[in-house]
Every structure is written in C-alpha cells, then in structure tokens.
Point group: none
Chain length 254, copies 2
DNA sequence: CATTGACTATGACGTTACGTTATAGTTTAT
DNA sequence: ATAAACTATAACGTAACGTCATAGTCAATG
C-alpha cells in the first residue's frame, strides 16, 4: 500500500512542499503516480527519505545527499570523514570569532569608562584593524605560546564553562517561553547537561544535592535574581525541572 | 580625494559587486557621484566599510550590520552578546553532529566487518532512527519520549568518583567542626586528594587554577550553595585550605 | 581625432532549500 | 450534490553576492 504525500510528510516530519521539491530536483521521486497524477510513495521511498533526512541533519547539502544515497557503493565513510573535517573547521572559526567578540566587548567596556566619545565613534579602530589583520594572516600564523598561557588558560576555561551554562539557561528559558513542560524531554535534556557539567567541572553532585540546588534557586535571593534576570519565572521553572530530573534518577536507581 | 569603486574594493579586499550591492541595499552609499554617475567614496565611507566588514566577519547579517553601523547609540554590546549566544548554540549543534558522525562511522565499520549485506543497505536503521528521535526531542517539536541519555553517561565511573569526593568533603567537614586549622596536615592531605582527582579524572589543573577554584567556592553562588549545604562555613574553609595548599606547592617549586 | 583598453553603471539571472500564496483539478464524506 | 480535505503545477521570495550582458566613460596611444 503506497503512501500519499501527506502521509509521507507526517511520517517523517517534513512538509509536503519539501517532498515536492525533492521530486523536482530528482532527489526522491515517488515510485509511481495515480491516474490523477498523485504521487505514490513505496516503502523503499520511505527508507530512502529517512536516509536523506539523516544526512540532512548532519548538515550535508542536497546535492551531496543525492550522491550518497544514489549509489550503494558510494564511499560513505569518506563523505562522513570529510564532512566532519568541515565541521571541525567551522567550530574552530566560531571559537575564534567568539574570542574576538569577547575582546571587543571588553574593549567596549573599557572605552566607555575611559571616554564617552569613543562610543560615539563606535569601535576603536585598533581593535578592528587588529582583528582584520589577524583574520587575513590566520593561516600562515604560528602562535607564540608564552608562559602567560597558563594564567590565561584558567580565565578562558572558566569563560568556556560560563558559556556552556549560558547556552543551557537560554535554551531552557526559550522552552519555558514556548510553554514547554518542565518535565518534557527537551527541558530534561538540558537539565541533564547542567547536572553533568557540575559533575564534570566542579564537584560531585548527587541528586539530593542537585534538588537542593534547585530549591535554592527560588529561596536564595542571589540565585533568584540571576535566573529571573535571564527570564522571568525561570528560577521556579528550573526548580521544578530539576526536581523532576532528580525524581527520575532516583526512580531508576530503585 | 575620493576613491573609486575599484580603489575601495582593492583597499578592503572585497569585490566591486559587493560595493554595488551595499549601495543597492543602502548599507553603504558613496558620499557622492561624478558627473558621469561614478561612485565616489570618502574617507568616512572607508571607515564605515571597515566596520561593516568587521561585523561581517563576525557572522552578522547585513541587515543587522545596517542597524549597528547606522546609529551611534545602537546597543552594540547587546548585539555582540546576542550574537555570541547564536554562535554558542551553533557550536553546540556542531558538536552534537560530530558525535553522531563518529557513532555512525563506528557503526559502519562494525557493520562492514560483521556483515557485508549491511554495506549494501548502507546504514543500519537503528542509528538513523535513534538519531532522529533525539533530534525531534531536542527541538521539542513532537515526541515526548523521555530518554535520560545524559544521566546514563555517568554510570559506574562517575559513581566511583562521586563517592571519592563525598568521602573527602565529609572528612574535611568533620575536621572543620573539630576546629582543625585549614593548614593542618590532616586537612591538607584531603585537599591534596581533591587536587589529584581533578588532575587525574578531569583536566590538567595548575596551582593557579586550583586557587582560582577555591575562590570560586565563595564567590560563585552555585559553588557556595553546594559546600554550605554539606556544612555551614565549609566553602570559606575550603578556600583557605586550598590557598594554603597552593602556597606550599609554589614554595616547593621555588 | 579615432581607437583601444581599462573602468564604470545598471540590469537581471543563478545559487540553497524550501515557504508561501495562487489557481485548479480530485477524492471522500455527508 | 456539495463541501471539506487533499493534490498538482506554477511562480515569486529569501541572503549575499557571483556572473554575465549591455552600454556608457576616461586616459593614453597611433
């Protein structure tokens, strides 16, 4: 029994338009058509679509995906390895950009304290010039690592952790705004990351302690202020989510 | 002396087309035109272009850049902070994808060794299904399948470490209650274990970093909460003990 | 002075992966 | 029979330009 476009779309979570598009570009043409010209997808088509979506979520372009899914003897491992390299480079670039942003923000703050006119002139050109030079020379550059590196390491390290937290809190805040249940999988996953980071980077944290931490979020003014600043209602939201998380861990143990 | 398009382009390393484009969309219109309609860029235009390119390299969209560079009292810091969040999320996503790629490649290799038919069928569907489930959960679109993957992560390894830590903290807490000096040998021994575990299990930790960690115990509310929860005053007590520990290490080196 | 080469201007289509109408025919339930 | 729900093709819109195509302009040369 073949599937209609809508059935396919709902099964796989894409839009009908997407299926039309894939048909248009020849990425996934339905096995057949009805008398009236309606697309009829077979089981095989379903499987192929799964693969297509899999690669798509890995960030491959449709053209690449066509090659990959088009021939069974295509070298998938190489394709994956290559793609991984691309992603690693992207990450690298993003990291570099984040550093620049950090520097720029610091310089902005200094600028504000030192001179209000600087604000008016936007950024101080040194920062910009410096950065652009760096960017141009990035590939021929050898980093000169000095002894200060260690000291910097601590700072950067700490900032990285803060960044990780920032992402998590922002994500949870967004889900809260969307009306997601604190017990929902998506929220719980983020809470899980929170929990993991504490364990990895800071201290050994038991569910009991974690739950207590959640309570503190609403009972301790400092915590509350911090979370409410991110999003109103987030403190209580996190407390609930963390409680659920701990409940689940304890259930599993039992 | 005004600049022509080509001069501008060569100076800043962009194409003439780009300058045309920026003019078209009103991002950067030249200060004037010649009688024949040739664009004439001023020094100010050059500066503005530098700023534009700076933000472009940070990954901002032209629309955003227009806002940023268009008004001097635009909140650049917020813009940078927001952008940083976006980048952090991107990094997060890339990390997740890389993990999936790693898993997939592993599974491909296993599949190949174990079963040639698998090769023909490309990927084993479990991997794909698994991933897609996760992805759906992550974005909160559908499925409320609660998988505590993160929680699973810890497992036995974590438990062992957690237990070790629990013992140490408890021991230090007890000694504190007995009125022992943070510099006493008994306390320092426990601190040493703390230090060693961090180095062995987590990351390379210098005295400098370790000292900073101690500071955090009293300065960061989240840490403080944890230690205060074990025993009142433990946060500050540990900070002092850790400082002493670091002093000693540094003395020995010298 | 006309020609040539270098430069410039304004369109306008192509790119990626669809979203979004718009128009029109088909199937199904009532 | 008619409405509701579904399907098809067509075509424009998106971001930030690249890439022609067509045509006018400027400086130097023969």
């Amino acid at each position: 029994m073949p599937y209609t476009v809508k059935q396919m779309a709902e099964m796989s979570g894409v839009s009908v338009r997407t299926l039309h598009h894939y048909d248009e570009i020849g990425l996934l043409s339905p096995a057949g058509r009805s008398a009236a010209g309606y697309r009829k997808y077979s089981e095989e088509d379903v499987e192929k679509l799964q693969q297509i979506l899999f690669f798509k979520e890995l960030g491959f372009e449709l053209g690449e995906i066509a090659k990959i899914t088009g021939s069974p003897d295509f070298d998938r491992r190489s394709a994956l390895a290559d793609h991984k390299m691309v992603l690693l480079k992207k990450m690298d670039r993003i990291k570099a950009i984040i550093k620049t942003i950090d520097k720029t923000m610091e310089s902005l703050e200094r600028g504000n304290k030192m001179n209000k006119k600087e604000m008016f002139g936007a950024f101080d050109e040194k920062t910009i010039e410096e950065y652009r030079k760096e960017a141009r020379a990035r590939y021929g550059e050898k980093a000169v690592e000095c002894e200060r590196r260690t000291a910097k390491y601590a700072k950067d390290d700490w900032r990285a952790i803060q960044d990780e937290y920032a992402v998590i809190y922002r994500a949870i805040g967004d889900m809260m705004l969307k009306g997601a249940d604190p017990a929902s999988a998506a929220v719980q996953e983020q809470i899980g990351r929170h929990y993991s980071i504490i364990n990895e980077k800071f201290y050994s944290c038991t569910p009991e302690i974690f739950r207590g931490l959640g309570e503190l979020y609403v009972s301790d003014a400092r915590f509350t202020a911090f979370y409410e600043n991110i999003e109103k209602g987030l403190a209580e939201y996190m407390r609930r989510a963390m409680a659920v998380y701990c409940d689940d861990i304890e259930k599993k143990k039992a």
